[in-house]
Symmetry: C2
Subunit: 205 residues, 2 copies
DNA sequence: TAGATTGTTAATCGATTAACAATC
DNA sequence: TAGATTGTTAATCGATTAACAATC
C-alpha cells in the first residue's frame, strides 16, 4: 500500500465501489473491468483505475479485476475487514429504524448500545437491546471502547451530545441531526439530513 | 442572477449555508459575516463569499450579510421558497421514520403520498396518510404531478421502482436503498446509505 | 498470437485560497 | 473618519481525463 496521503475524495468513492462489487459477487460474477464497474456506479473507467491503483496493483491487464480479491483489498483498506461496535444515541423514530436496520450486516458494523435521555424510554428494548440512560454515555462508551456513534437526537441537543461522545473516545460520528457539528480534527463526521439532500436537487428542477 | 453554469459542488454547499443561517435567525441573530458563517459550517470565509457571489451581491462591505435577506435569496436560488410535494416509496421502518419526520417543515417539502407493495400494509395509515398500492405508483404520481420521491425499498427492488418513478415524471430521487441507480441525465439522485457513510470514516480510525 | 485491459504519465480542467481595492 | 468586510482577481492547488506502453 502506498504511504502517500490519499485524498479524502478517493476514500469517499471506495465504499461505493465496495457496495457495487459486493452486489456483483452476490450475483455470482467473478471478474469485472474498470469499464463495467464504472457503468454500475456512474464513474469513469479511468478514475476507477486511478483510484484503485493508489493502493496497489490489484488488476490484470487483459482480464480486469478478480471481484473476490478486490473486495478483500478494499475491505482491508477501509478497515471493514472486521466488525466495528457502534453506539446509537437517540431512540426516536430514526433511532428505531437504524436499530432495526438489517443493512449493517456484512458491511462491518453492529450496534451494541443505545442511549436516550427520555425517562419513559430508558429500560425499554429495541430488538435485543435495552435503551440506556444518556447520562451514562461517557462511561458506557469508554468502558466498551466504542469508536463510532450514530446521532439521532434533536438538533438543539446534538452539539452537546457530540461533545460527550468525543470525550468518551468516539472518533467517527454519523450525524442525523440537521446541524453542523464542531469537532476536533481527529474526529470525522458524516451528515445525513434528508431535507438538505433534497434541497441539493431542487435547484435543477 | 448569473447566467453561467454553476458547479454542482457549489449548489451542494448552499443548503448547508441555508441550514446554518436558519438556525442563526431562529436565535434572533440579524447579521453575519462570511467569517462567522464559515466557522459555523467549517468552510473558509473566502469560499463562502465566492459561492454566494455567484448569484449576486447580497452582502455589504463593512457589515456583512443580512441573515433574513440572504435566507430569502438562498431559498429562491434553491427553489425552496415554495413547498414541494414528495412521494415516499416503501413503508418499512425507514419509511415510517421519514413519514413521521418533523424536519421537512419549513424546509420546502411535504410528503403527500406513500406507496408499498405489501398487501398487508396497503390501506394502513401512517399519521394522516394511507399507504397506497405500489401498482399505482405511475398513475398516482403522474396525477399529482409529483417531481420528488424518497425511496426506502429493499435494494433488489430499487432500480425497477426508480424506473417507474422516472416514467411517472419524477426528477429527483432521494435513495435510501444501498445500490447505485441508473438514471437519465435529467434526473438527480442523492444517496443515503448509513453503512457507506460509516465506511467513509473507518479508513481514518 | 490477437485482443483486451491495466497502471501510469502528461495534459487538461476545475476548485480553492490569498490578497486587496472598493466601499459600507 | 477608521475599521470592517465584501466581491473579485490572480495564483495556487488538486482532481479528472485522455492516451498509451506494458502485459496478461
Amino acid at each position: 500500500m502506498n504511504a502517500e496521503k490519499i485524498p479524502d475524495i478517493i476514500i469517499g468513492r471506495l465504499p461505493v465501489y465496495l457496495r457495487a462489487l459486493q452486489r456483483m459477487a452476490d450475483n455470482g460474477v467473478k471478474t469485472t473491468s474498470s469499464q463495467e464497474l464504472g457503468e454500475h456506479v456512474g464513474i469513469s473507467a479511468a478514475q476507477i483505475r486511478k483510484d484503485i491503483s493508489q493502493f496497489g496493483e490489484f488488476g490484470k491487464q487483459g482480464t480486469g479485476y478478480s471481484i473476490g480479491y478486490l473486495l478483500d483489498k478494499l475491505r482491508e483498506i477501509l478497515k471493514v475487514d472486521r466488525i466495528w461496535d457502534v453506539a446509537l444515541i437517540g431512540a426516536g423514530d430514526m433511532g428505531h429504524a437504524l436499530a432495526n436496520y438489517q443493512g449493517f450486516q456484512n458491511r462491518g458494523f453492529r450496534i451494541v448500545a443505545i442511549f436516550d435521555n427520555n425517562k419513559e424510554k430508558i429500560g425499554n428494548k429495541i430488538g435485543e437491546f435495552v435503551i440506556s440512560d444518556a447520562e451514562k454515555i461517557v462511561e458506557g462508551i469508554k468502558a466498551a471502547n466504542i469508536k463510532i456513534a450514530m446521532l439521532t437526537v434533536p438538533a438543539p441537543a446534538a452539539q452537546s451530545v457530540a461533545d460527550k461522545l468525543i470525550q468518551a473516545g468516539v472518533r467517527a460520528i454519523l450525524n442525523y441531526a440537521p446541524i453542523s457539528l464542531n469537532v476536533p480534527n481527529n474526529v470525522k463526521v458524516q451528515y445525513i439530513d434528508p431535507a438538505t439532500h433534497l434541497q441539493r436537487m431542487t435547484y435543477y428542477l
